[in-house]
């Protein structure tokens, strides 16, 4: 087991275990906290896969943005005096069976399949190349994302703002 493998197992464990706590913990604040570790773990995996820029974005946007947003949501929808912010679950048994079957099938599908693989090379910095692609080939998608963000802004503001 070389260092690379070790790092992989570390991050994989962080990701999967914390994700497990996210979905099973009854206290929603703890869940949110574990979600932070999951995102960190995923970012680590990105780094392992040579996606440095994506990893950074993952940290900034997910941890710095989405997670904070979710936490705000938690606080705004619970009375702050509640010490334990617990939430229940429904559909446990069918969900366990269904998800079990689905993940079994998925695992089988993904592992048994032969993928096009090439020997991996040493990862290069991707930021500059990504920037170029984003404004060249993917200019259209880039613009579309702009519209999506505008719509998200308008939509979220429209719903959340106080009625005049």
């Amino acid at each position: 087991m070389n260092v690379y493998d070790f790092i992989f197992y570390l991050f994989a464990a962080i990701t999967v275990l914390s994700a497990f706590f996210v979905v099973t913990n009854r206290n929603i604040v703890y869940s949110a906290f574990f979600l932070l570790f999951t995102f960190f773990g995923v970012a680590g995996i990105y780094v392992l896969l040579g996606a440095d820029f994506v990893a950074i974005v993952q940290l900034i946007v997910y941890v710095g943005g989405i997670l904070i947003l979710l936490l705000f949501g938690v606080m705004l929808t619970n009375k702050i005096t509640n010490v334990e912010i617990k939430t229940g679950t429904i559909n446990i048994y069918p969900a366990v069976i269904g998800v079990g079957l689905l993940s079994g099938a998925l695992l089988a599908a993904l592992i048994t399949s032969t993928w096009k693989t090439f020997p991996t090379e040493a990862p290069l910095p991707t930021t500059a190349a990504l920037g170029t692609m984003l404004l060249q080939e993917y200019a259209l998608v880039f613009e579309l994302l702009g519209i999506i963000l505008l719509i998200a802004l308008i939509g979220a503001a429209s719903i959340a703002r106080r009625e005049a």
Partner: protein
Amino acid sequence: MIEVGLNHFLVVSTLLFSMGIYAIVTRKNAIMVLMGVELILNSANINFIAFTRFGNFGLQGHLIALFVIVLAAAEAAIALAIVLNIYKTLSTVNIDEVDSLKD
């Protein structure tokens, strides 16, 4: 032990995906459900980047992952706004209690 390869990453992403689905269908709290959605999006992103890395597909996968992250942010914003609105009108964020529309 086998050397870490594509399959290892795929296993991680599948587990993440399954747990995301599990959260979506079992947790009562709407915000927990949103966390589940984020897990699914993350698992798909791991797939994209892993395939890019091992299949030598260029940087396309990275870009897709970036797009998905941006989209996840937009979606989370709108979803939270809607959840807050539900909380304002029904004083609950438990999805199973929001079932007045049914047959």
